[in-house]
């Protein structure tokens, strides 16, 4: 039945958005993290979503779910800062900062939380309709 399927779809969406919020939290927590080389420096992480195609129903399937395909890392450069007193500084006295952009993270967080709310509303509307259908003709 398609109404129960909506709950499944919305659940998948909430799951995906939770992963996204998690990566935002991790990025913001590591915004001041420094490292001794560019390879070790923290890079902002972001999930890549992909549509779930159920194998049973192929193209005739009507609602497509979503899940997290992978977590990608931001490719931008890590800022190199001269700070010889830092215990993590490399032999030349440089430390490498994370490439997290707080503005990007905040907008991403807002978008994720909006999407999460929408998912919940979708599920609760579907639930109401199911309940209404079950109550049918009892009067």
């Amino acid at each position: 039945m398609s109404l129960t399927n909506i709950l499944k779809l919305a659940g998948g969406a909430l799951n995906a958005q939770t992963v996204r919020l998690n990566t935002v939290a991790s990025n913001l927590a590591n915004i001041e993290t420094v490292a001794s080389s560019e390879a070790q420096a923290y890079r902002a992480k972001r999930p890549v979503f992909a549509t779930v195609l159920e194998q049973t129903a192929s193209e005739l399937q009507s609602g497509f779910g979503v899940n997290v395909l992978q977590i990608s890392e931001k490719t931008g450069v890590n800022a190199k800062v001269f700070d010889p007193n830092n215990p993590l500084a490399d032999p030349d006295g440089y430390i490498y900062r994370s490439n997290v952009n707080p503005l990007e993270e905040i907008t991403d967080m807002l978008d994720a939380s909006r999407a999460y709310e929408t998912g919940i509303t979708t599920a609760s509307t579907a639930r109401e309709l199911m309940m209404r259908t079950l109550d049918m003709n009892t009067k």
Binding site: S2, L60, M136
Partner: protein, 128 residues
Amino acid sequence: MSSIDKALGVFPTAAAVQARRLEVIAGNIANASTPNYRARDVDFKRALADAGEDMRLAVTHIKHVESSEQLTREALMFRVPLAPARDGNTVETHIEEAAYGDAAGRYLAALRFTEGALSGMRKAYRGD
């Protein structure tokens, strides 16, 4: 088509098509941030026509199960986005939310009409 089906008219089928539509739109909302996802919606007129008797699989054996109404590929259409995103995603959440509300309202309306037909039949059976 049984006589009860006839008495209920098009409304149970309409409710089923709206439920399918709700599912398609829920899929769009779930994929609001998926790259290259294209938003779809159900062409109601076509889906309703497809849900009619002639689209069912033939039942030629006692053990055949009658098929439930299923959308054909033609009844699903891609939505034309007002402002497509750079990642190829054409879901516009506000439009999907409005469409979802619309489908939910129509589902309830179809349900109400079905209820009306059922209670009419019941009255006739009871003879009050």
